[in-house]
Amino acid sequence: MEKFFNRKVTVTLKYIVVAFTSALLLMLIMSSFAKREYAISGFLTIGLIAIAVTYLTNYSIPMKFFLPGMFFLFAFVVGPILYTVAMSTFHYETGNYISKPDAISRILATGVRPDPNQTTFDIIIGEDSSKNLEILASDPTNKVYFLSTASTKTDLDPATVAVDGNGDATIAPGFHALTPDQQTALDQQIATTRFVYSSAFFITIEGSNVASLKSQTLKYNSSNDTFVNVQTGAVYKDNGVGNYANLTNKTDFLQPGWRAPIWFSNYAKLFTDPQIRKPLIQVFIWTMVFATLTVLTQFALGLLVAMIMNRKLFGRRIYRSIFILPYAMPSIMSILIWGGMFDTEFGAINHLFGSHVPWFQNAFYARAAVIIVNLWLGFPYFYLITSGALQAIPAELSEAAAIDGASNRQIFRKITLPLLLQVVSPLLVASFAFNFNNFNIIYLLTGGGPTNTLGGAVAGSTDILISYTYKIAFGAGTQNLGLASAISVVIFFIIASISLYGIRRSRVLDSFK
């Protein structure tokens, strides 16, 4: 065995692992570069170079251990944070997703209208004698036939064309039909060619045998970066926030728009726009209450169970296993089961108590349900933690206090709890931070509701900041990713501040100094 893992074998294995990791990165670099994701491509390239330098030289031994962790830290923590911060400074919502050049080309594409009669022609796609793309168009009802290229139109005498059973022309002088395979090869050219019809209209191809009559209603002037509607004369100019807006009516703008930098406008909106500020304050208060109540109830119940289980009890091992079950079950499943049990009409809880409590329709009950379910999910964690911590507290302390005449309550308040809190404080802070962003419980149990929709409320009664942010980003008809990013950044700072404060207060990092 020792021989097998001699230096030669391990070095070869190392080369193979490094080579395959590099190959994977190389593939991702090429793929992301092809998709014009230059930032990702650049990051992966740095990673590739770092791997080569670290593992193929002896430049830094510690780096050989740190590099994988640092790579993933940057890829999945630092990168998303930076991206979120960057996006919070953009006008980035439904209708403003793409780049400005893409938006211009889309506006030009949708700025084409069929003629009022929605005229279509049966066509055959082919070439003229000079190999130019040409269509043989038929209007069998009126017996009108013509050939058209990107620059010419030739009307045909019906007597000179051969027609099929539907009256569509099949053969015309000088016209050579393309085979399906030839058409397939020329798809892009066929799709983008505008065939001549008249001064007002042109023809575009809408399939292998259909073409329609169209006119350009919006024209782009690159010299002054404006669009003009040739039918109404309206001029649309870049409004600086990602849209071409009508100069005489700012609310009339062309779509799509583009992702434009608006710097701190999204942050300013959080404080200045009453439609955002008011629900945000309500949601923030409930988030604090929810996180605090969750931690307190989970800790209290966990501690209570731990203290009971700390005594000699018949069947203690069985009880312990049962108490850990909620923690062992996937929380998503538990939440969905609880959701069904709380259903007003058909739920087990109302059925059991013979009640008709509108658990998810009434704000108070919905909040209570959220706390109850979260208590069920979280107390085993604190039960486990506090069980361990209780056993670590020397029994002599309690015994000495008892000899001095302290009651059980006094022993708990003055000795057990302070010692326990010293140990579990960092975990309480971590649990608070986790529950502050506990998206699953809210999204799966109540969906943030109930919402006083008819009263004009935007946020639901059980929405916490993260679920509210999700609604803004993805939940509604209009998705505002820029604003959601700004709220995410604010949440990040709140959590970071609370955690830092908690950690400093608990002096948990003192031992690392």
Binding site: S22, L26, E206, G207
Partner: protein, 421 residues
């Protein structure tokens, strides 16, 4: 030493990199393939149809990509880019305004023969600001089914309520009428309509009438009080404010009337129920509650042009999705009512498909996303109607106050939506 290390590793890296490059080469680069995205039912069924006959567009290969759910498809399309997106997506009609605003959908002009196969409402559903973005595929609607083992065909809303109140104890009924398909907004729209309200009023010419009050609050409130509430102002149990458990309860025989979606009628047929389909009856004889009869569409994306298959994708829309032959072949496996008029009359279309089609024809209204999705800063119909049911039937709020509040939002939505049509 270093040189040799680099040499060995570089050789291995390049070999592995090239191999992985070949494996991960994009599908569009390999052939002229038209990529169609569809949900978990339409996708496999389209695959089946295309596998049986794949030459709808000569010179192109058609690849159907099914998703695990409609929501997954929606999310994927939301994240699609020019390099990852489909050429055609089979989606809901209310994707059109968003897709058009985002520049993801491309305009379509259909041949006159294809246009003749659909109604103006069908095209209205798939248009944004007067531009058409796809081909109507199947009709999405709900209809009311009644359990003929418990009751007979009702003529009015009152007959249903009276039956429930008279028999709820004897028959152990858990509700009278409930929504099994379409949710408390889309599915329950026909109940609101039966009681005198609507998110918008269509004029005789088929356009939205901006001058009509969509929700006459006093009328709706009076009807809600009369038919859905008991004397104490609480729900009389006839119409629950939630759709949870409705399907199970109907199948168990504890609910006599249910609103079901046309995508799941087989579940009821398989459970032995006759397809007693009808619109929700109105307050007066001969009146019906209108239900949304929207169409799903095969929508052309801008990615088709980026992939170099724009012409092929347009041909697929005309030759397959827009043709009667394509619609019949597809609906024979998908079993929804086809939007194509010629396909609707085909002998192979089932009675249930025709039953839903008939209910839609009698009491169908177009589903206009530009209005229903809500005015900027306002509220979407999808949120308002469930909130109305909850406020009135669960929280005991005044039907009149709630109806007035909803009407205000409806009016704002109509005003904001009409300029986008």
């Amino acid at each position: 030493m270093i040189q040799s290390k680099f040499g060995k590793v570089a050789a291995l890296t390049l070999t592995a990199g090239l191999m992985s490059g070949f494996v991960s080469a994009p599908v569009h680069a390999a052939s002229k393939t038209i990529i169609v995205w569809a949900d978990e039912t339409r996708g496999p069924h389209l695959q089946q149809v295309i596998a049986a006959k794949g030459d709808w567009v000569p010179g192109y290969t058609i690849k159907i990509v099914p998703f695990s759910s409609f929501a997954a498809l929606d999310t994927a399309f939301g994240n699609a880019t020019a390099l990852t997106g489909p050429d055609i997506v089979v989606g809901a009609n209310d994707w059109v305004p968003t897709g058009a605003k985002e520049g993801k959908l491309a305009p379509v002009t259909l041949s006159s023969s294809v246009r003749a196969q659909f109604t103006a409402n069908n095209f209205f559903d798939l248009s944004y600001k007067g531009v058409l973005y796809g081909v109507p595929l199947d009709v999405n609607n709900v209809a009311m089914i009644y359990n003929s083992k418990l009751t007979s065909k009702p003529g009015t809303f009152a007959q249903m309520v009276n039956f429930y109140l008279a028999n709820k104890t004897a028959d152990k009924l858990t509700a009278g009428l409930c929504v099994a398909g379409g949710g408390m907004s889309w599915g329950a729209e026909s109940v609101l309509s039966a009681l005198g309200g609507a998110p918008y009023i269509m004029s005789a010419s088929g356009a939205v009438d901006p001058s009509s009050d969509p929700l006459p609050a006093a009328t709706v409130a009076a009807n809600v009080s009369k038919y859905l509430l008991a004397k104490n102002g609480k729900s009389n149990g006839f119409f629950p404010a939630t759709d949870t458990g409705c399907k199970t309860a109907f199948l168990a025989g504890t609910v006599p009337y249910a609103i079901i979606g046309n995508w799941e009628w087989q579940d009821y047929a398989n459970a032995g129920f006759d397809m007693n389909l009808m619109p929700v009856p109105g307050i007066l004889h001969g009146q019906n509650g209108a239900a949304f009869a929207s169409v799903s569409g095969a929508l052309l994306t801008v990615y088709a042009a980026a992939h170099g298959v724009d012409q092929g994708a347009k041909s697929l829309l005309n030759n397959f999705f827009g043709s009667a032959a394509g619609a019949v072949a597809y609906q024979n496996v998908e079993l929804r009512p086809p939007a194509n008029k010629k396909a609707q009359k085909d002998a192979s279309v089932t009675a249930a498909q025709k039953g839903f089609g008939k209910a839609g024809a009698v009491a169908g209204v177009p589903q206009i996303g530009a209005i229903l999705n809500g005015a900027p800063g306002g509220k979407a119909f999808w949120d308002l109607l469930p909130a109305f049911w909850t406020d009135v039937l669960v929280n005991g709020k005044s039907p009149l106050t709630s109806a007035q509040a909803m009407d205000t939002f409806f009016k704002a939505n109509v005003a904001a939506g009409i300029p986008q049509l």
